[in-house]
Symmetry: C2
Subunit: 244 residues, 2 copies
């Protein structure tokens, strides 16, 4: 009963497939999509897994596996039709829907985001801006007037915001997040250096500059340690090793 035999490939077929796509593969699909769009603009109509993989910075086996999650839309012995692949990836990524975005926190970063051309052009219109500073209320940023943060609930509901972007100082982030969630926003992109606590049904992605820098720092350190170690072990390193 809880295991009703094999569900017999119905329309829920796409859904089943979508559920199974690993998160890492989803991220890569978005990259492939961008590369493919660029190709299409340049008039390329067909591409092989090898070429696409090279342009996307992955190996071709991984690329083919990733594409297989989307479906089998290549032609053996030939490659993939760029247009076809673009439309199937867009479908899987849900880009046939429109996803209105609200940006909360109109500081330096918020300004940059509000003015960022990459969002609207790709189906993510910035539908609303919010800030706690009353002096900003009504001021247009990137052509969109800023609302006071107290209006989040009504404005988000009215404009059907599906993605909330948090660009506030860290102290404010959790409170803003709570408000977005209670306004019905289920996807959040968080730029504040804070771990947000949210209900299970809310999806959070974070962009954490400090963390990125520290990961790079780790690699610098690892490399330095390795060079030092190699020198100690006499594994032939010419001097200070700046360019192997």
């Amino acid at each position: 009963m809880t295991t009703p035999k094999i569900p017999a490939d119905t329309s829920a077929d796409v859904r089943e497939r979508a559920r199974a796509i690993p998160e890492a593969a989803v991220a890569r699909l978005a990259v492939y999509l961008r590369v493919l769009s660029g190709m299409a603009e340049q008039g390329v109509t067909t591409i092989s897994s090898e070429e696409l993989a090279g342009a996307a910075g992955v190996n071709s086996a991984k690329l083919r596996k990733d594409l297989s999650y989307v479906g089998s839309y290549g032609t053996r012995g030939v490659g993939y039709d760029v247009e076809v692949l673009v439309s199937h990836i867009e479908r899987i990524l849900g880009l046939t829907r429109k996803h209105s975005v609200a940006v909360v926190g109109i500081g330096n970063l918020g300004h940059a985001l509000a003015n960022y051309g990459g969002f609207p052009s790709r189906g993510f219109p910035v539908a609303a801006l919010f800030d706690i500073d009353p002096d900003l209320t009504g001021v247009p940023v990137g052509g969109i007037p800023v609302h006071h943060i107290d209006d989040i609930t009504s404005v988000c509901a009215e404009r059907e915001v599906s993605i909330g972007v948090i660009a506030t100082p860290p102290q404010a982030a959790q409170a803003v997040c709570d408000r977005l969630v209670s306004a019905g926003v289920q996807c959040i992109l968080n730029f504040a250096p804070v771990v947000l606590q949210v209900p299970d049904y809310v999806e959070v992605r974070k962009v954490d500059l400090a963390v990125e820098m520290q990961i790079l720092s780790f690699h610098v350190a690892r490399r330095a340690d390795q060079a030092a170690g190699d020198v100690v072990n006499g594994v032939g390193v010419d001097g200070v090793v700046i360019r192997p």
Copy 2:
């Protein structure tokens, strides 16, 4: 000779360990570090894996495994000393070194980055800014004068820049990257929506807003499809399922 028995836990001990830490664990360590720093500021001196895990948004088994990559610095039955843990994580992440940062591309995002307080305070001083626009040359942004992009090589060498941040339009990103690399920069944080091609010894991290949005979009779509599927299968869903 190339395998000189077990290296007998010498100073290369930290190096060995560092090499083995999975990338995902490194990213989490940076998060733990921030949480721990916050704890320390609030006067917390000791913390259990359960508490720290909760604050960092992971489960405690994973946290303990991650910390075990750093070393065994906890006390059984008690927990971890916050200060001790902070200093060990900092060491592993290479934060005892100073890492000078150069930001290339002083548009909206570049401005935001130049003014971002999170970098300097965490050991990542912004040592130089670059832009291709001659009108910007010499203009101070966030207190730092902008250099022309043609001076990348000399300025980066002089100021020992170890991390380059690319905040240019996509068309310029690869060229800027090449220049940074030839200036000896081995770590790059890329905000441009382009897959950079670099030599093996260069470490690239990317922050791609469009990709983040599309991942969120995927989850919106998956959820919608799932809800639809559940309704079809009659798996008891009350209406349109906005808040389970």
